[in-house]
Structure formats: C-alpha cells, structure tokens
Point group: C2
Chain length 208, copies 2
C-alpha cells in the first residue's frame, strides 16, 4: 500500500491563502488570523505547538488531528521554510521528516520532537520521491506555499485537494491557484463538510 | 416584511464565473457547461426553458426551484442583458420584472410568460429600488454578471451570497470577486450543502 499525496490549506472565499502585504505586519496578521480562525482555539493545535492545556474538542479538532496523523512526511518550498524558520518553536510542529525544495545546499537540520528538515536541490520530483520513501504507507503533505502546491498540481503529482473554505474575502494577496494548468486536472468531490465556521472540502484528482 | 437582496451563481473552485474567451466558441461553451453541469439535467431547468418533459428530481432540482420561487424581481448589467437577448428563448426564463442597468434609453420590453425588461439609466441604486418595489415581499436577485454583482457588494447592498461551488478549475476567465472591496463586508456562513456534484454555499452579509 502506498500513501497519497495531498495538500491541506485554508482558502478565502475569493481564492487567497495569504493576504496582501508583508507577513507579520499588524494588518497582514489580522487578516491571516481571520482566515485561520477555525484552527487556533483547537485543542490539537495548542497541544502540537505546546501552547498549554485546554482548547476546543469536536469535529474541527478531529479534522486537524486526522490531517496530522495521516502525514508521514511533508514537502515545502524555500519561501515557506524561510518564514517558518523564524516562526516555528524550537520543537517544530511537523514531528516527521520535511523536504525543502531549494537551491541552497545545507546539511539536514534536526529539531527536537522528531522534525528533520532535508534540503533538496534537484527539484520537486526528487523531493517527493524522498518524502514518499520517508512516509512509508502514510501520506505525503505538500505543505506549501501556494506556488509550490501549484507546481505539484501542474506536474500531475497531487492525488487530493483538502481545502478549508473560510468565510472571508481578501480582494488581493496570494492566490492558491495562481498559474494552475486548468486543463491538467479533473476534480471529483469527495467530501464537503461544514463545521462551525468553515467548509471542509476534499477533492480527488483524476487525469483529464 | 421586506425581501432580501441576493445573488446566486455557479463558481469554479478557483473563483471564476465564466471561462476565458468569447461566449459561444466551442472551447468556451465546453468549460462553461462543465461549470453549470449540475443545472442542465434538472427537471425545473427543463420546464422553465420549455425544453420538454422529464429531468432529474431531488435536492438539486429543489434548490433551483427555491431560488426561482423566492425571486420577485431581478437586476442585471447591460452586458449580461446583451448576451441573454440573443440566447434566451422568446419566453425569457425570469417570469418577473427584470431591471437592466444601462446607459441605453429604451422602452420596457415585455416578453410572453411574464418577463418584462426595464432599462434603468440612473445607476444601481435606482435599479434596486425599483426591483424592490416590484418584488413586494419576495427577494431581489442580482442576476449578474460578475461586475454588476461586485458593484452591489461594494455598495453594501447585498444581504446574501449564494454560490454553487463547482469542482472545476478555469485558471483564467471572469472572476466573481474581481475588484471586491474586501474591507466592506463580513460573511457569516448560513449553509453549506453538498449535492451530487457541487457544494451549495450561503453566506449572510454583515457590516464590518
């Protein structure tokens, strides 16, 4: 049995995964938190980032936990890694191998708690191959950012889209599907589950 | 009791309400039909356009019928009217007054079956006022196109978004929310209902 390759993001109703502007600026942060608002109160999120006891339990918490548990390895772009390197706690929240697609040569970076970042210099295919091997029969998550996800979609390497559709409009920012090769994929709806604040959408990718 | 002002469209997962290109060209039509695919087999759609007996019944059919029945009057932009004038059958499918926002001066155009087009030359506010009066206690539908819908959203005149999210990617075309003033509206999810092929989303608009 071989795992799936999926991505899982929160997207605004108008298609953005990040607002306009610079990460960390007050306005950017306020919009971004609105997009991700369903995540922060959850018990699993708090546990995983060691923010302390407590938090909500219920379907949204279960969805976060399921997404974490199915993931045997992650792949991310260099920009996401650079931002995360500053933002993640020492015990990075992946607890699995993470493969970073980058031109930078760098030795594997092992963090406490089971996350090791591997820096892959020969493209998205190699990064995915290594992630698949590391994941065993669990799934590989293409963690982001948007451009990296679209590269994998356009290469026909994604099996499943998982989108938490958030009831916000950004008007501008980083679009999830910017540059997608629309002729490449056909989508089959697998799940559409509303929770308190967002709608969890899952699509299987079929070749066209 | 006063009716609501809403729009109801099919949107691709990447946010488009029409594909790139010229309406009526084979490629355009194929993409557009994919977006609207949930509608064509429905019994109500066939009845309303007098395409003959038969058709599917079930939740998707009910949703089409409910949208029709709640609508006491429609408002549309000039471009949508111009395209529709060539495409609608003689018995246009509205069966209510329709207010067309346009610079063109033209006498009301009455069609068999209860549709009368009124041409409004002094802006979206006036068109809506007249539509409200015509609708009585039923709702006013902002029929389209995308640009007209966004004008009404940005003017704070929409009470409800109704979107059938279709499992297709267009990559380019006409975006529903192009030019939306994102700071203007807050959305509250009211419904998210998957049917066979699409997800029916409904949001109430709250002032920010």
């Amino acid at each position: 049995m071989v795992g799936k390759v999926f991505f899982s993001v929160s997207m605004s109703l108008d298609g953005f995964v990040a607002p306009e502007g610079r990460m960390g600026e007050p306005n950017w942060t306020a919009r971004w938190m609105e997009l991700q608002q369903w995540i922060f109160p959850q018990r699993f999120f708090r546990e995983n980032l060691k923010l302390g006891e407590g938090g909500q339990e219920g379907r949204e918490n279960d969805i976060l936990r399921e997404t974490f548990e199915r993931t045997g390895a992650s792949v991310m772009g260099k920009r996401m890694f650079d931002l995360g390197e500053q933002a993640w706690p020492e015990e990075a929240p992946f607890h699995t191998p993470v493969f970073v697609v980058t031109h930078e040569k760098r030795a594997p970076w092992e963090r406490p708690g089971g996350t090791t970042f591997h820096f892959i210099n020969d493209g998205i295919g190699t990064a995915l191959d290594q992630a698949r091997r590391a994941a065993g029969d669990r799934d590989v998550r293409i963690a982001g950012g948007g451009a990296t996800i679209v590269e994998y979609v356009n290469a026909g390497l994604i099996d499943e889209f998982s989108i938490a559709l958030s009831p916000v409009l950004f008007g501008s920012g980083i679009r999830l599907f910017e540059g997608v090769d629309a002729g490449r994929v056909a989508l089959e709806p697998v799940r559409a589950e509303p929770t308190q604040r967002v709608t969890h959408l899952r699509y299987a990718v079929r070749p066209r």
